[in-house]
Amino acid sequence: MAKPDQEIIRRVLAGEKKAFADLVNRHKDKAMTLAMRMLKNKEDAEEALQDAFVRAFHALPRFEWKASFSTWFYRIVYNVCATALSKKEEAYEVSLQDGDQGEIEIPSDEPTPDVEYESTEFQEIVTEEIGKMPEAYASVLTLFFVQEMSYEEIATVTDFPLGTVKVRLFRARMLLRERIARRLGWKKGVVLEENQEGERSSGA
């Protein structure tokens, strides 16, 4: 557990309740990002975030130190957002199929040579596309890349089986790739164009 979190929690439990503000300040931006990507609305996200922090405060005495504070806390954030989504009946139903991440070769659309991945434009496009993704995918992407959680931690936060987390993250990355390709207008590779059967066969 990050030492700062541990020390702050100790102070809060010892009676220095105002120290909880330090914990809020440490986690509010990343937690807000997760909430925003799930709820797609700033007011709803902020309300959910406030609710999550208040719940975390009252649950602190029951925190058992088995997992890191961030994993425990983001589970609260995720559940609050998921509840809010279910009330809005806007949850995106993701159907998972077996073999979704099987032996899939790289897609046929190839990056054009002039794509500058370090450019501000590319970053803006990626940021924009993440914001548009269904919450089921945006949430796992955020937990994996922003909160830098492992598959196991994400499974703890979302209460999904480990296999589901892996498949969902895989599909999220493929969906993001597909949308970026569409935005940048990448052409399909020569290999697939010549292969009229469109099978994922080997090609040179």
Binding site: K18, F20, K30, K42, F53, V54, I106, V126, V146
Partner: protein, 184 residues
């Protein structure tokens, strides 16, 4: 030539690929520009997601959270006034009526032509005068059964008093405090 699978590329980019497989992937990338381009792309996407700007909450979020978990601490004088605004308004209304009554004795004597305000005030003070008399008489009639005209009138007065207080409390809680909370 067989290309790498997406899964292999992602694991390679994430650094989670097993050592044995990693050797094969590295060897393949040395001779396959297409897979190299895909690795570069997936690395760029991962970096893009990681570096995407965080959504920052409003500045008052921390204050609101702390006010919720610590309602009695850190309240400014202004906040205390706002929280009790409904009570303050009720007190001002009652006091102003009494001050008006005391400063215009002619209203009671009937010397002046009754204005709307004085008529309203007479009704208002008459209402509480009746409540007082009702409570006094009823206390001596604790054993009485059945409903008499005077007791029915008293019941009406008590009901009106309770309803007035509830309406005032509801106005304070659901209107005044909510408006002040969103504005401050």
């Amino acid at each position: 030539m067989n290309h790498l699978t997406v899964q292999q590329i992602l694991e390679y980019v994430d650094g989670t690929i097993l050592n044995g497989e990693r050797t094969q992937v590295v060897a393949h990338l040395e001779s396959c520009p297409r897979c190299r381009r895909e690795v570069d792309l997936q690395r760029a996407l991962a970096k893009g997601v990681r570096d995407a700007p965080l959504t920052r909450p409003s500045r008052r979020l921390v204050d609101r959270i702390m006010e919720t978990v610590l309602p009695a601490t850190g309240n400014s004088l202004l906040r205390k006034i706002v929280n009790n605004l409904g009570n303050l308004l009720a007190m001002i209304v009652v006091l102003s009526i009494f001050v008006y009554a005391l400063s215009t004795p002619s209203v009671w004597k009937g010397d002046a032509a009754p204005s709307v305000i004085s008529e309203t005030f007479k009704t208002y003070t008459g209402f509480y005068d009746q409540v007082s008399r009702y409570l006094t008489t009823e206390s001596a009639k604790l054993q009485s059964k059945g409903s008499t005209p005077s007791s029915r009138e008293g019941e009406k007065i008590v009901a009106l008093t309770i309803i007035s207080l509830l309406a005032l409390a509801a106005l304070d809680k659901f209107v005044i405090r909510r408006v002040m909370r969103t504005k401050l």
